[in-house]
Amino acid sequence: MTDIAEQEVIDIADMDVEAFNEFATEQGWSDGMPLFVPTEAKVAKFVDTVRGDNRPYSPVPPRQIVPTIQAMAANAVMAGCKPEYFPVVTAALRSVLEPDFNLHGTLATTHSCAPMVMISGPIRKELNVNCGSNCFGQGWQANATIGRALGLMLLNIAGAKPGEMDRSTQGNPAKFTFCFGENEEENPWTPYHVQRGFKPTDNVVTVMSGEGPHNLNDHGSTTGDGLLTTFAGGMATPGANTVYGKGPSFIIIGPEHAATLKRDGFTIETIREELWQRSRIHISRVSKGNLDTYASTGHKPDGDYLRIGRTPQDLHITVAGGPGKHSAFIPSFGGTMVACTRIQ
């Protein structure tokens, strides 16, 4: 891949999709999966969906270039998006460009983090975003391609080439795509975007640089209190970056677990407080070398325990998924924030 591409539009020989994919792979544009051809005509259809949104984009680290809408759209086309997904994709890019998201750090790190993209609001239905069964998995074009488009933009615009600028030790399947919708319909509390101050009718993208979902399986508990014991046990993991106590994490509660917690009188606030108290990591589970390292950067045990965030507000809670007794914990990269952007 060249450092700063000289031309926005490139004339290449006519070729079929297979030949284009070979060409794109040679250029370093591919995530390894087949790409669609970003013809001028196709890109123009995507650009049309964001006309009127003239807010500038800040330079994208680590490569430090200011993207053009056409280049962003080319990545969305290559990812297999429909044109109507593009405003979600651009909102996701704006979110990761929030300074406290620390895009540079999240892309250059050896950690396995990938940008989690969560979609809230009525647009979930309009775009057929999966918020229910298998919401983190395969089978839905919107989920698959919106997350992939962001990943391709980070490769091609940000320059996060694996092994070069992207230094992840092992990577993470979520780097291909990690996009889902909130299950607002089965959320007995307040949807996440409303918790963040948006209107219920707003369409919002939320991003966090996180690991893949850690499953929280609990078929046996019949009380909310029992579920929280399981959740907290799963969250108190010394191998996740949350052990540094410096960043956010998400708890995505499955609808059946949410119903039990609601029945037993728990609210988002009381769940957060309980999990904050119970998800501490006992120092006996952390090596001396690690404790010394954490202490050297200001993260000392609170008594005999390490906290997995700075305050209870670092625990972000919502509902997604379908039937079944599973929830998920998504620990973040650590030195990052949860960023929300309203879709224009």
């Binding site: 001028e40 053009t68 620390n102 790190t109 050297s296 030195g335």
Partner: protein
């Protein structure tokens, strides 16, 4: 056929390469800047100890970020730039 280049963008950096100021490594004040990963401090302190055989090391001072995963704060960078002629950075990965 005509395609849109997915890597295209406008460079945010200035057009010219940033030139480094000259430094006398035998005498000038030097900041040792760690990326706060394990062993980065030990590496820099080890180099400092070795340098003591050749030069005064009282003006070679250790600094670190408060997070390995985040950039050094701007005021820390400005303070180091104001007080030291050179900086030796270590990436302890």
């Amino acid at each position: 056929m005509r395609i849109v280049n997915p890597t295209f963008g406008l460079s945010a950096a200035a057009g010219e390469t940033v030139a480094l100021k000259p430094i006398n490594w035998a005498t000038d004040a030097i900041a040792l800047m760690s990326n706060s990963k394990p062993n980065a401090r030990e590496l820099l302190e080890g180099v400092r100890a070795k340098l003591s055989a050749f030069r005064n090391v009282d003006n070679i001072v250790y600094h670190s970020k408060n997070s390995a995963s985040q950039a050094a704060p701007k005021d820390q960078i400005e303070k180091v730039a104001a007080n030291f002629r050179g900086a030796l950075l270590a990436l302890g990965d």
